[in-house]
Symmetry: C2
Subunit: 328 residues, 2 copies
Protein backbone atom coordinates (compact mmCIF):
# COMPACT_ATOMS: atom_id res chain seq x y z
CA UNK A 1 0.00 0.00 0.00
CA UNK A 2 1.34 3.44 -0.89
CA UNK A 3 1.03 5.86 1.98
CA UNK A 4 0.62 9.63 1.56
CA UNK A 5 3.97 10.33 3.29
CA UNK A 6 7.19 8.31 3.22
CA UNK A 7 10.64 8.34 4.80
CA UNK A 8 12.07 10.44 1.98
CA UNK A 9 9.52 13.16 2.72
CA UNK A 10 10.62 13.14 6.36
CA UNK A 11 14.30 13.28 5.41
CA UNK A 12 13.63 16.19 3.04
CA UNK A 13 11.69 17.92 5.78
CA UNK A 14 14.64 17.49 8.14
CA UNK A 15 17.06 19.07 5.66
CA UNK A 16 14.64 21.93 5.13
CA UNK A 17 13.83 22.77 8.73
CA UNK A 18 17.19 22.09 10.35
CA UNK A 19 18.26 25.77 10.43
CA UNK A 20 14.97 26.75 12.03
CA UNK A 21 14.52 24.26 14.84
CA UNK A 22 16.40 22.81 17.80
CA UNK A 23 17.92 19.36 17.63
CA UNK A 24 16.39 18.62 21.02
CA UNK A 25 18.29 16.56 23.58
CA UNK A 26 17.41 13.04 24.66
CA UNK A 27 17.38 12.70 28.44
CA UNK A 28 17.38 9.63 30.65
CA UNK A 29 16.18 9.43 34.24
CA UNK A 30 16.64 6.37 36.38
CA UNK A 31 13.81 7.33 38.72
CA UNK A 32 11.39 7.29 35.79
CA UNK A 33 12.82 3.99 34.55
CA UNK A 34 12.08 2.45 37.94
CA UNK A 35 8.50 3.68 37.83
CA UNK A 36 7.94 2.53 34.25
CA UNK A 37 9.74 -0.78 34.64
CA UNK A 38 11.74 -0.22 31.46
CA UNK A 39 14.58 1.94 30.14
CA UNK A 40 13.27 5.28 28.84
CA UNK A 41 14.80 7.79 26.44
CA UNK A 42 12.95 11.09 26.61
CA UNK A 43 13.00 13.12 23.39
CA UNK A 44 12.61 16.65 24.72
CA UNK A 45 10.30 18.40 22.28
CA UNK A 46 9.20 20.50 25.23
CA UNK A 47 12.57 22.22 24.67
CA UNK A 48 11.75 22.72 20.97
CA UNK A 49 11.32 26.19 19.45
CA UNK A 50 7.96 27.66 20.52
CA UNK A 51 7.81 24.91 23.13
CA UNK A 52 6.49 21.98 21.08
CA UNK A 53 7.11 19.59 18.17
CA UNK A 54 4.59 21.67 16.18
CA UNK A 55 7.50 23.91 15.09
CA UNK A 56 8.77 21.03 12.94
CA UNK A 57 5.64 20.69 10.81
CA UNK A 58 4.97 24.41 10.65
CA UNK A 59 8.53 25.18 9.49
CA UNK A 60 8.32 22.42 6.90
CA UNK A 61 5.07 23.75 5.44
CA UNK A 62 6.22 27.36 5.46
CA UNK A 63 9.66 26.76 3.98
CA UNK A 64 8.43 24.29 1.35
CA UNK A 65 6.18 26.94 -0.18
CA UNK A 66 7.29 28.84 -3.29
CA UNK A 67 8.20 32.52 -2.86
CA UNK A 68 5.01 33.57 -4.64
CA UNK A 69 2.89 31.44 -2.35
CA UNK A 70 4.74 32.45 0.80
CA UNK A 71 4.35 36.15 0.03
CA UNK A 72 0.58 35.83 0.23
CA UNK A 73 0.99 34.63 3.79
CA UNK A 74 -0.19 31.66 5.83
CA UNK A 75 -3.46 31.10 7.63
CA UNK A 76 -4.65 28.66 10.26
CA UNK A 77 -7.36 28.21 12.82
CA UNK A 78 -5.92 26.94 16.07
CA UNK A 79 -5.65 28.17 19.60
CA UNK A 80 -2.77 25.94 20.54
CA UNK A 81 0.85 25.16 19.82
CA UNK A 82 0.38 25.07 16.04
CA UNK A 83 -0.75 28.71 16.06
CA UNK A 84 2.42 29.84 17.84
CA UNK A 85 4.62 27.56 15.72
CA UNK A 86 3.11 28.81 12.45
CA UNK A 87 3.45 32.44 13.56
CA UNK A 88 7.10 31.88 14.35
CA UNK A 89 7.81 29.99 11.10
CA UNK A 90 6.15 32.67 8.96
CA UNK A 91 8.07 35.40 10.79
CA UNK A 92 11.34 33.60 10.05
CA UNK A 93 10.40 33.55 6.39
CA UNK A 94 9.48 37.25 6.63
CA UNK A 95 5.83 36.76 5.69
CA UNK A 96 2.49 37.11 7.43
CA UNK A 97 0.69 34.55 9.58
CA UNK A 98 -3.04 35.05 10.16
CA UNK A 99 -4.43 33.07 13.04
CA UNK A 100 -8.14 32.55 13.63
CA UNK A 101 -8.70 32.01 17.35
CA UNK A 102 -11.92 31.58 19.33
CA UNK A 103 -12.88 34.69 21.30
CA UNK A 104 -12.60 32.73 24.56
CA UNK A 105 -8.92 31.80 24.05
CA UNK A 106 -6.78 32.33 27.12
CA UNK A 107 -4.72 35.50 27.34
CA UNK A 108 -1.60 33.34 27.57
CA UNK A 109 -2.24 31.72 24.20
CA UNK A 110 -3.08 35.04 22.59
CA UNK A 111 0.16 36.52 23.95
CA UNK A 112 2.20 33.57 22.63
CA UNK A 113 0.87 34.00 19.08
CA UNK A 114 1.32 37.77 19.19
CA UNK A 115 4.80 37.35 20.63
CA UNK A 116 5.81 35.51 17.46
CA UNK A 117 4.20 38.15 15.24
CA UNK A 118 1.00 36.29 14.34
CA UNK A 119 -2.01 38.46 13.44
CA UNK A 120 -5.10 37.25 15.27
CA UNK A 121 -8.70 37.30 14.04
CA UNK A 122 -11.11 36.43 16.81
CA UNK A 123 -14.28 34.46 16.07
CA UNK A 124 -17.14 32.84 17.94
CA UNK A 125 -15.98 29.65 19.66
CA UNK A 126 -17.47 27.11 17.25
CA UNK A 127 -16.28 25.24 14.18
CA UNK A 128 -18.61 27.01 11.69
CA UNK A 129 -17.50 30.50 12.76
CA UNK A 130 -13.85 29.40 12.77
CA UNK A 131 -13.92 28.02 9.24
CA UNK A 132 -15.93 31.00 7.95
CA UNK A 133 -13.37 33.41 9.41
CA UNK A 134 -10.49 31.46 7.91
CA UNK A 135 -12.21 31.26 4.51
CA UNK A 136 -12.73 35.00 4.49
CA UNK A 137 -9.03 35.64 5.17
CA UNK A 138 -8.01 33.11 2.51
CA UNK A 139 -10.25 34.85 -0.06
CA UNK A 140 -9.00 38.31 0.82
CA UNK A 141 -5.28 37.54 0.99
CA UNK A 142 -4.89 34.56 -1.32
CA UNK A 143 -2.87 33.01 1.52
CA UNK A 144 -2.38 29.30 2.18
CA UNK A 145 -4.20 27.36 4.85
CA UNK A 146 -1.83 25.29 6.96
CA UNK A 147 -3.83 22.62 8.73
CA UNK A 148 -2.59 21.84 12.26
CA UNK A 149 -2.18 18.09 11.66
CA UNK A 150 -3.87 16.67 8.58
CA UNK A 151 -1.49 17.60 5.76
CA UNK A 152 1.42 15.77 4.14
CA UNK A 153 4.01 18.47 4.84
CA UNK A 154 2.92 18.70 8.45
CA UNK A 155 3.15 14.93 8.94
CA UNK A 156 6.57 14.82 7.27
CA UNK A 157 7.76 17.65 9.52
CA UNK A 158 6.52 16.03 12.72
CA UNK A 159 8.24 12.79 11.66
CA UNK A 160 11.63 14.48 12.00
CA UNK A 161 11.41 14.17 15.80
CA UNK A 162 11.52 10.36 15.52
CA UNK A 163 14.19 10.60 12.81
CA UNK A 164 16.43 12.55 15.19
CA UNK A 165 15.60 10.30 18.12
CA UNK A 166 16.72 7.24 16.15
CA UNK A 167 19.93 9.02 15.18
CA UNK A 168 20.54 9.81 18.84
CA UNK A 169 19.52 6.35 20.17
CA UNK A 170 19.60 3.92 17.24
CA UNK A 171 18.75 0.72 19.09
CA UNK A 172 15.29 1.49 20.43
CA UNK A 173 12.82 -1.37 20.74
CA UNK A 174 9.77 0.88 20.85
CA UNK A 175 8.61 4.50 20.71
CA UNK A 176 5.60 5.71 22.69
CA UNK A 177 3.72 8.69 21.23
CA UNK A 178 0.67 10.74 22.27
CA UNK A 179 -2.17 10.88 19.74
CA UNK A 180 -4.66 13.69 19.20
CA UNK A 181 -5.04 14.77 15.56
CA UNK A 182 -2.41 12.16 14.75
CA UNK A 183 0.23 14.24 12.97
CA UNK A 184 3.04 13.34 15.34
CA UNK A 185 1.99 9.70 15.44
CA UNK A 186 1.72 9.39 11.65
CA UNK A 187 5.08 11.09 11.12
CA UNK A 188 6.70 8.86 13.72
CA UNK A 189 5.24 5.73 12.10
CA UNK A 190 6.42 6.65 8.63
CA UNK A 191 9.95 7.51 9.75
CA UNK A 192 10.57 4.84 12.37
CA UNK A 193 9.02 1.85 10.58
CA UNK A 194 11.02 2.61 7.42
CA UNK A 195 14.26 2.85 9.39
CA UNK A 196 13.53 -0.23 11.50
CA UNK A 197 10.54 -2.41 10.57
CA UNK A 198 10.87 -4.33 13.85
CA UNK A 199 10.39 -1.27 16.07
CA UNK A 200 7.12 -1.10 17.99
CA UNK A 201 5.22 2.18 17.80
CA UNK A 202 2.65 2.56 20.54
CA UNK A 203 0.16 5.42 20.62
CA UNK A 204 -1.39 6.55 23.88
CA UNK A 205 -4.49 8.70 24.31
CA UNK A 206 -6.69 9.76 27.22
CA UNK A 207 -9.65 7.46 27.85
CA UNK A 208 -11.86 10.57 27.77
CA UNK A 209 -10.73 11.38 24.20
CA UNK A 210 -10.30 7.93 22.71
CA UNK A 211 -11.40 8.48 19.11
CA UNK A 212 -8.09 7.18 17.75
CA UNK A 213 -8.48 3.94 19.72
CA UNK A 214 -12.07 3.50 18.58
CA UNK A 215 -11.22 4.33 14.97
CA UNK A 216 -8.31 1.89 15.00
CA UNK A 217 -10.29 -0.92 16.66
CA UNK A 218 -13.35 -0.52 14.42
CA UNK A 219 -11.50 0.19 11.20
CA UNK A 220 -13.78 3.18 10.62
CA UNK A 221 -13.01 6.81 11.37
CA UNK A 222 -14.78 7.83 14.60
CA UNK A 223 -14.97 11.54 15.44
CA UNK A 224 -13.99 12.97 18.83
CA UNK A 225 -17.26 14.12 20.40
CA UNK A 226 -17.21 16.11 23.64
CA UNK A 227 -13.82 14.83 24.71
CA UNK A 228 -12.94 15.29 28.38
CA UNK A 229 -9.29 15.37 29.38
CA UNK A 230 -6.69 17.58 30.97
CA UNK A 231 -4.48 16.80 27.96
CA UNK A 232 -5.70 19.80 25.99
CA UNK A 233 -3.49 19.04 23.00
CA UNK A 234 -5.30 15.75 22.37
CA UNK A 235 -8.91 16.89 22.04
CA UNK A 236 -9.16 16.91 18.24
CA UNK A 237 -10.41 14.16 15.96
CA UNK A 238 -7.92 12.06 14.02
CA UNK A 239 -7.01 13.52 10.62
CA UNK A 240 -7.95 11.52 7.50
CA UNK A 241 -4.39 11.25 6.17
CA UNK A 242 -3.16 10.32 9.60
CA UNK A 243 -5.83 7.66 10.10
CA UNK A 244 -4.75 5.98 6.87
CA UNK A 245 -1.12 5.83 8.05
CA UNK A 246 -2.07 4.79 11.58
CA UNK A 247 -4.35 1.97 10.36
CA UNK A 248 -1.53 0.62 8.28
CA UNK A 249 1.41 0.93 10.66
CA UNK A 250 0.58 1.38 14.34
CA UNK A 251 1.24 -1.57 16.65
CA UNK A 252 -0.88 -0.66 19.65
CA UNK A 253 -3.07 2.13 20.96
CA UNK A 254 -3.38 2.37 24.75
CA UNK A 255 -5.93 4.44 26.65
CA UNK A 256 -5.13 6.00 30.02
CA UNK A 257 -7.00 7.48 32.96
CA UNK A 258 -6.80 11.16 33.89
CA UNK A 259 -5.30 10.34 37.29
CA UNK A 260 -2.45 8.48 35.61
CA UNK A 261 -1.78 11.42 33.28
CA UNK A 262 -1.46 13.69 36.32
CA UNK A 263 0.80 11.19 38.06
CA UNK A 264 3.01 10.96 34.98
CA UNK A 265 3.11 14.73 34.67
CA UNK A 266 4.18 15.10 38.26
CA UNK A 267 6.88 12.44 37.86
CA UNK A 268 8.33 14.21 34.82
CA UNK A 269 8.38 17.55 36.63
CA UNK A 270 9.76 16.26 39.91
CA UNK A 271 12.01 13.45 38.78
CA UNK A 272 13.08 14.30 35.24
CA UNK A 273 13.07 18.06 36.08
CA UNK A 274 11.38 18.90 32.78
CA UNK A 275 8.39 21.17 32.33
CA UNK A 276 5.88 19.42 30.07
CA UNK A 277 2.25 19.99 29.22
CA UNK A 278 -0.30 17.32 30.19
CA UNK A 279 -0.45 15.90 26.63
CA UNK A 280 3.27 15.19 26.79
CA UNK A 281 2.81 13.09 29.92
CA UNK A 282 0.31 10.76 28.25
CA UNK A 283 2.90 8.30 26.83
CA UNK A 284 4.51 7.82 30.25
CA UNK A 285 1.02 7.39 31.71
CA UNK A 286 0.56 4.49 29.28
CA UNK A 287 3.70 2.83 30.62
CA UNK A 288 2.71 3.47 34.24
CA UNK A 289 -0.79 2.12 33.94
CA UNK A 290 -1.28 -1.57 34.36
CA UNK A 291 2.41 -2.40 34.64
CA UNK A 292 1.39 -5.99 34.21
CA UNK A 293 -0.39 -5.03 30.98
CA UNK A 294 -0.88 -8.45 29.47
CA UNK A 295 -1.86 -7.61 25.94
CA UNK A 296 0.85 -10.01 24.90
CA UNK A 297 2.23 -7.55 22.44
CA UNK A 298 4.47 -5.35 24.56
CA UNK A 299 7.02 -6.93 26.81
CA UNK A 300 8.66 -4.56 29.21
CA UNK A 301 11.71 -6.68 29.94
CA UNK A 302 14.99 -5.46 28.50
CA UNK A 303 13.20 -2.84 26.46
CA UNK A 304 14.70 0.44 25.36
CA UNK A 305 11.75 2.73 24.87
CA UNK A 306 11.72 6.20 23.27
CA UNK A 307 9.18 8.63 24.69
CA UNK A 308 8.14 11.71 22.74
CA UNK A 309 7.69 14.55 25.23
CA UNK A 310 5.59 16.51 22.80
CA UNK A 311 5.52 19.97 24.37
CA UNK A 312 6.05 22.18 27.38
CA UNK A 313 3.44 24.91 27.10
CA UNK A 314 1.58 24.69 30.37
CA UNK A 315 0.40 26.99 33.09
CA UNK A 316 1.89 25.25 36.12
CA UNK A 317 -0.14 27.36 38.54
CA UNK A 318 -3.37 25.93 37.18
CA UNK A 319 -2.49 22.26 37.43
CA UNK A 320 -4.05 20.18 40.19
CA UNK A 321 -0.68 18.73 41.16
CA UNK A 322 -0.56 16.71 44.34
CA UNK A 323 1.69 16.68 47.36
CA UNK A 324 5.43 17.11 47.35
CA UNK A 325 7.85 14.39 46.41
CA UNK A 326 10.56 16.30 44.55
CA UNK A 327 14.27 15.71 44.59
CA UNK A 328 15.92 12.34 44.08
CA UNK B 1 50.53 31.28 43.25
CA UNK B 2 49.93 27.56 43.59
CA UNK B 3 46.26 26.82 44.14
CA UNK B 4 44.96 23.77 46.03
CA UNK B 5 43.22 22.39 42.89
CA UNK B 6 44.32 22.59 39.27
CA UNK B 7 43.02 21.65 35.81
CA UNK B 8 44.68 18.25 35.97
CA UNK B 9 42.72 17.44 39.13
CA UNK B 10 39.51 18.35 37.31
CA UNK B 11 40.44 16.25 34.28
CA UNK B 12 41.25 13.28 36.52
CA UNK B 13 37.94 13.76 38.29
CA UNK B 14 36.15 13.71 34.95
CA UNK B 15 37.76 10.42 33.94
CA UNK B 16 36.89 8.96 37.33
CA UNK B 17 33.24 10.00 37.54
CA UNK B 18 32.22 9.69 33.90
CA UNK B 19 30.58 6.25 34.32
CA UNK B 20 28.58 7.50 37.28
CA UNK B 21 27.15 10.82 36.09
CA UNK B 22 25.21 12.30 33.19
CA UNK B 23 26.95 14.37 30.55
CA UNK B 24 24.17 16.94 30.88
CA UNK B 25 22.87 18.75 27.80
CA UNK B 26 23.41 22.42 27.01
CA UNK B 27 20.17 24.14 26.06
CA UNK B 28 19.54 27.49 24.39
CA UNK B 29 16.35 29.53 24.58
CA UNK B 30 15.80 32.63 22.50
CA UNK B 31 13.16 33.97 24.88
CA UNK B 32 15.71 33.96 27.69
CA UNK B 33 18.35 35.55 25.47
CA UNK B 34 15.95 38.42 24.77
CA UNK B 35 15.36 38.96 28.48
CA UNK B 36 19.05 38.79 29.35
CA UNK B 37 20.24 40.83 26.39
CA UNK B 38 22.91 38.29 25.54
CA UNK B 39 23.28 34.77 24.11
CA UNK B 40 22.93 32.14 26.84
CA UNK B 41 24.03 28.50 26.96
CA UNK B 42 22.36 26.71 29.83
CA UNK B 43 24.36 23.81 31.30
CA UNK B 44 21.58 21.62 32.69
CA UNK B 45 22.92 20.28 35.98
CA UNK B 46 19.29 20.17 37.08
CA UNK B 47 19.18 17.08 34.85
CA UNK B 48 22.24 15.62 36.63
CA UNK B 49 22.03 12.41 38.66
CA UNK B 50 20.29 13.10 41.98
CA UNK B 51 19.17 16.40 40.48
CA UNK B 52 22.24 18.58 41.02
CA UNK B 53 25.94 19.13 40.23
CA UNK B 54 26.69 17.78 43.71
CA UNK B 55 26.80 14.28 42.20
CA UNK B 56 30.04 15.25 40.47
CA UNK B 57 31.97 16.10 43.63
CA UNK B 58 30.45 13.29 45.68
CA UNK B 59 31.31 10.66 43.05
CA UNK B 60 34.84 12.01 42.78
CA UNK B 61 35.42 11.81 46.53
CA UNK B 62 33.85 8.35 46.86
CA UNK B 63 35.59 6.76 43.88
CA UNK B 64 38.98 8.33 44.65
CA UNK B 65 39.09 6.57 48.01
CA UNK B 66 41.09 3.35 48.46
CA UNK B 67 39.13 0.13 48.94
CA UNK B 68 40.14 0.00 52.61
CA UNK B 69 38.91 3.55 53.18
CA UNK B 70 35.74 3.09 51.18
CA UNK B 71 34.79 -0.04 53.11
CA UNK B 72 34.58 1.96 56.32
CA UNK B 73 31.94 4.12 54.70
CA UNK B 74 31.37 7.83 54.18
CA UNK B 75 29.87 10.41 56.48
CA UNK B 76 28.55 13.92 56.01
CA UNK B 77 26.29 16.44 57.69
CA UNK B 78 24.03 18.07 55.18
CA UNK B 79 20.33 18.31 54.59
CA UNK B 80 20.59 19.23 50.95
CA UNK B 81 21.74 17.99 47.57
CA UNK B 82 25.15 16.83 48.83
CA UNK B 83 23.47 14.36 51.20
CA UNK B 84 21.51 12.74 48.38
CA UNK B 85 24.51 12.80 46.04
CA UNK B 86 26.82 11.21 48.61
CA UNK B 87 24.24 8.54 49.43
CA UNK B 88 23.93 7.67 45.75
CA UNK B 89 27.70 7.67 45.15
CA UNK B 90 28.36 5.41 48.13
CA UNK B 91 25.61 3.03 47.03
CA UNK B 92 27.21 2.79 43.58
CA UNK B 93 30.48 1.86 45.26
CA UNK B 94 28.59 -0.64 47.41
CA UNK B 95 29.50 0.97 50.72
CA UNK B 96 27.63 2.82 53.46
CA UNK B 97 26.77 6.52 53.62
CA UNK B 98 25.88 7.96 57.02
CA UNK B 99 24.12 11.29 56.85
CA UNK B 100 23.65 13.56 59.86
CA UNK B 101 20.54 15.67 59.32
CA UNK B 102 18.83 18.17 61.60
CA UNK B 103 15.64 16.82 63.18
CA UNK B 104 13.60 19.54 61.46
CA UNK B 105 14.62 18.48 57.93
CA UNK B 106 11.72 18.27 55.50
CA UNK B 107 10.21 14.88 54.80
CA UNK B 108 11.08 15.35 51.14
CA UNK B 109 14.78 15.67 51.84
CA UNK B 110 14.73 12.72 54.23
CA UNK B 111 13.00 10.62 51.57
CA UNK B 112 15.56 11.62 48.93
CA UNK B 113 18.50 10.50 51.08
CA UNK B 114 16.75 7.28 52.08
CA UNK B 115 15.79 6.64 48.46
CA UNK B 116 19.48 6.50 47.58
CA UNK B 117 20.25 4.23 50.52
CA UNK B 118 21.75 6.77 52.90
CA UNK B 119 21.47 5.99 56.63
CA UNK B 120 20.25 9.03 58.54
CA UNK B 121 21.18 10.09 62.06
CA UNK B 122 18.98 12.91 63.27
CA UNK B 123 20.39 15.63 65.54
CA UNK B 124 19.32 18.90 67.07
CA UNK B 125 19.23 21.63 64.42
CA UNK B 126 22.44 23.42 65.35
CA UNK B 127 26.07 23.27 64.28
CA UNK B 128 27.43 21.91 67.57
CA UNK B 129 24.97 19.01 67.65
CA UNK B 130 25.60 18.29 63.98
CA UNK B 131 29.36 18.12 64.32
CA UNK B 132 29.10 16.09 67.53
CA UNK B 133 26.85 13.55 65.83
CA UNK B 134 29.18 13.30 62.85
CA UNK B 135 32.25 12.93 65.10
CA UNK B 136 30.58 10.11 66.98
CA UNK B 137 29.85 8.22 63.75
CA UNK B 138 33.38 8.82 62.49
CA UNK B 139 34.83 7.41 65.74
CA UNK B 140 32.57 4.39 65.71
CA UNK B 141 32.90 3.45 62.05
CA UNK B 142 36.30 4.83 61.08
CA UNK B 143 34.54 6.27 58.06
CA UNK B 144 35.59 9.33 56.06
CA UNK B 145 33.97 12.71 56.36
CA UNK B 146 33.10 14.16 52.95
CA UNK B 147 32.62 17.89 53.33
CA UNK B 148 29.86 19.32 51.11
CA UNK B 149 32.04 21.96 49.46
CA UNK B 150 35.36 22.69 51.14
CA UNK B 151 37.58 19.82 50.02
CA UNK B 152 39.97 19.42 47.08
CA UNK B 153 38.26 16.34 45.62
CA UNK B 154 34.87 18.01 45.86
CA UNK B 155 36.09 21.16 44.12
CA UNK B 156 37.78 19.13 41.38
CA UNK B 157 34.56 17.14 40.86
CA UNK B 158 32.36 20.22 40.63
CA UNK B 159 34.81 21.71 38.11
CA UNK B 160 33.89 18.96 35.64
CA UNK B 161 30.63 20.77 34.84
CA UNK B 162 32.55 23.71 33.36
CA UNK B 163 34.98 21.30 31.67
CA UNK B 164 32.08 19.64 29.87
CA UNK B 165 30.41 22.95 29.09
CA UNK B 166 33.57 24.19 27.37
CA UNK B 167 33.79 20.96 25.37
CA UNK B 168 30.17 21.45 24.30
CA UNK B 169 30.47 25.21 23.60
CA UNK B 170 34.18 26.03 23.28
CA UNK B 171 33.90 29.72 22.40
CA UNK B 172 32.21 31.14 25.49
CA UNK B 173 33.09 34.67 26.56
CA UNK B 174 31.87 34.21 30.12
CA UNK B 175 30.36 31.73 32.58
CA UNK B 176 27.95 32.82 35.29
CA UNK B 177 27.85 30.68 38.44
CA UNK B 178 25.91 30.74 41.71
CA UNK B 179 28.00 30.92 44.88
CA UNK B 180 27.14 29.51 48.31
CA UNK B 181 29.91 27.43 49.88
CA UNK B 182 31.89 28.09 46.73
CA UNK B 183 32.68 24.54 45.55
CA UNK B 184 31.07 24.94 42.14
CA UNK B 185 32.53 28.41 41.67
CA UNK B 186 36.06 27.34 42.68
CA UNK B 187 35.93 24.26 40.41
CA UNK B 188 34.65 26.36 37.52
CA UNK B 189 37.41 28.93 38.01
CA UNK B 190 40.17 26.34 38.10
CA UNK B 191 38.92 24.51 34.99
CA UNK B 192 37.78 27.41 32.82
CA UNK B 193 40.63 29.83 33.50
CA UNK B 194 43.20 27.14 32.71
CA UNK B 195 41.47 26.27 29.43
CA UNK B 196 40.91 29.91 28.45
CA UNK B 197 42.58 32.64 30.52
CA UNK B 198 40.48 35.30 28.75
CA UNK B 199 37.14 33.85 29.84
CA UNK B 200 35.21 35.90 32.40
CA UNK B 201 33.86 34.01 35.41
CA UNK B 202 31.14 35.87 37.23
CA UNK B 203 29.71 34.66 40.53
CA UNK B 204 26.23 35.67 41.61
CA UNK B 205 24.78 35.46 45.11
CA UNK B 206 21.62 36.66 46.83
CA UNK B 207 21.95 40.08 48.46
CA UNK B 208 20.56 38.50 51.64
CA UNK B 209 23.43 35.97 51.75
CA UNK B 210 26.32 38.01 50.39
CA UNK B 211 29.24 36.68 52.40
CA UNK B 212 31.18 35.78 49.24
CA UNK B 213 30.82 39.33 47.93
CA UNK B 214 31.91 40.83 51.22
CA UNK B 215 34.80 38.41 51.59
CA UNK B 216 35.97 39.15 48.06
CA UNK B 217 35.64 42.93 48.40
CA UNK B 218 37.35 43.10 51.80
CA UNK B 219 40.01 40.48 51.12
CA UNK B 220 39.11 38.83 54.44
CA UNK B 221 36.88 35.82 54.97
CA UNK B 222 33.47 37.01 56.22
CA UNK B 223 31.06 34.39 57.60
CA UNK B 224 27.43 34.09 56.48
CA UNK B 225 25.39 35.19 59.50
CA UNK B 226 21.60 34.79 59.50
CA UNK B 227 21.34 34.73 55.72
CA UNK B 228 17.89 35.37 54.27
CA UNK B 229 17.09 34.06 50.81
CA UNK B 230 14.79 31.71 48.96
CA UNK B 231 17.93 30.25 47.35
CA UNK B 232 18.33 27.58 50.03
CA UNK B 233 21.42 26.10 48.43
CA UNK B 234 23.37 29.33 48.95
CA UNK B 235 23.01 29.86 52.70
CA UNK B 236 26.40 28.51 53.80
CA UNK B 237 29.60 30.42 54.38
CA UNK B 238 32.38 30.30 51.80
CA UNK B 239 34.82 27.42 52.30
CA UNK B 240 38.44 28.27 53.09
CA UNK B 241 39.90 26.41 50.11
CA UNK B 242 37.30 27.95 47.86
CA UNK B 243 37.91 31.47 49.14
CA UNK B 244 41.58 31.14 48.25
CA UNK B 245 40.75 30.11 44.68
CA UNK B 246 38.01 32.72 44.33
CA UNK B 247 40.23 35.53 45.58
CA UNK B 248 42.83 34.61 43.01
CA UNK B 249 40.67 33.97 39.95
CA UNK B 250 37.14 35.38 40.04
CA UNK B 251 36.39 38.36 37.80
CA UNK B 252 33.21 39.69 39.38
CA UNK B 253 30.72 38.88 42.11
CA UNK B 254 27.21 40.27 41.62
CA UNK B 255 24.47 40.43 44.26
CA UNK B 256 20.80 40.10 43.35
CA UNK B 257 17.45 40.85 44.95
CA UNK B 258 15.00 38.11 45.95
CA UNK B 259 12.38 39.41 43.53
CA UNK B 260 14.82 39.01 40.63
CA UNK B 261 15.63 35.45 41.68
CA UNK B 262 11.92 34.62 41.55
CA UNK B 263 11.54 36.32 38.18
CA UNK B 264 14.51 34.36 36.81
CA UNK B 265 13.12 31.13 38.21
CA UNK B 266 9.77 31.72 36.57
CA UNK B 267 11.41 32.54 33.24
CA UNK B 268 13.43 29.32 33.31
CA UNK B 269 10.32 27.26 34.11
CA UNK B 270 8.00 28.94 31.63
CA UNK B 271 10.34 29.82 28.81
CA UNK B 272 13.19 27.30 28.98
CA UNK B 273 10.80 24.56 30.23
CA UNK B 274 13.31 23.39 32.82
CA UNK B 275 12.60 22.68 36.46
CA UNK B 276 15.28 24.35 38.56
CA UNK B 277 15.66 25.15 42.22
CA UNK B 278 15.87 28.82 43.29
CA UNK B 279 19.67 28.69 43.70
CA UNK B 280 19.99 27.69 40.04
CA UNK B 281 18.09 30.79 38.96
CA UNK B 282 20.52 33.16 40.70
CA UNK B 283 22.98 33.48 37.76
CA UNK B 284 20.19 34.45 35.35
CA UNK B 285 18.93 36.89 37.99
CA UNK B 286 22.35 38.53 37.85
CA UNK B 287 22.02 39.02 34.10
CA UNK B 288 18.45 40.31 34.41
CA UNK B 289 19.18 42.84 37.10
CA UNK B 290 20.41 46.20 36.02
CA UNK B 291 20.67 45.39 32.33
CA UNK B 292 22.64 48.60 32.02
CA UNK B 293 25.03 47.37 34.72
CA UNK B 294 27.89 49.80 34.17
CA UNK B 295 30.63 48.19 36.17
CA UNK B 296 32.77 48.57 33.07
CA UNK B 297 33.89 44.98 33.33
CA UNK B 298 31.11 43.04 31.67
CA UNK B 299 29.86 44.06 28.26
CA UNK B 300 26.73 42.32 27.15
CA UNK B 301 27.13 42.98 23.45
CA UNK B 302 28.01 39.99 21.30
CA UNK B 303 28.61 37.87 24.36
CA UNK B 304 28.22 34.13 24.52
CA UNK B 305 27.55 33.37 28.15
CA UNK B 306 27.44 29.97 29.83
CA UNK B 307 25.01 29.64 32.73
CA UNK B 308 25.36 26.85 35.28
CA UNK B 309 21.86 25.69 36.19
CA UNK B 310 23.09 24.09 39.37
CA UNK B 311 20.14 21.90 40.39
CA UNK B 312 16.49 21.03 40.08
CA UNK B 313 15.44 19.84 43.52
CA UNK B 314 12.53 22.07 44.35
CA UNK B 315 9.03 21.76 45.65
CA UNK B 316 7.13 23.67 42.96
CA UNK B 317 3.95 23.74 45.04
CA UNK B 318 5.67 25.81 47.70
CA UNK B 319 7.12 28.51 45.49
CA UNK B 320 5.49 31.95 45.49
CA UNK B 321 5.40 32.04 41.68
CA UNK B 322 3.45 34.84 40.12
CA UNK B 323 0.85 35.04 37.37
CA UNK B 324 0.82 32.99 34.22
CA UNK B 325 2.95 33.77 31.22
CA UNK B 326 3.85 30.33 29.96
CA UNK B 327 4.21 29.16 26.39
CA UNK B 328 6.19 30.98 23.71
Amino acid sequence: MILPVDLQDVEQAHQRIRPHIHRTPVVTCRQLDLQAGTRLFLKCENLQKAGAFKSRGACNAVFAASDATAERGFVTHSSGNHAAALSRAAARRGVAAQIVMPSNSSAVKVAAVQGYGGVITFCEPNLVAREAAADKILETTGGSLIHPYDAELIVAGQGTAALELLEQVPDLDAIVVPVGGGGLLAGTLVAAKALNPAIQIIAVEPRGADDAYRSWKSGTWVPSIEPQTIADGLLTSLGAINFKIIQELVDLIWRVEEATILRALQLILERAKLVVEPSAAVPLAGLLEEPERSDGEFSRAHKRVGVLLSGGNVDLQRLPLGADTPSA
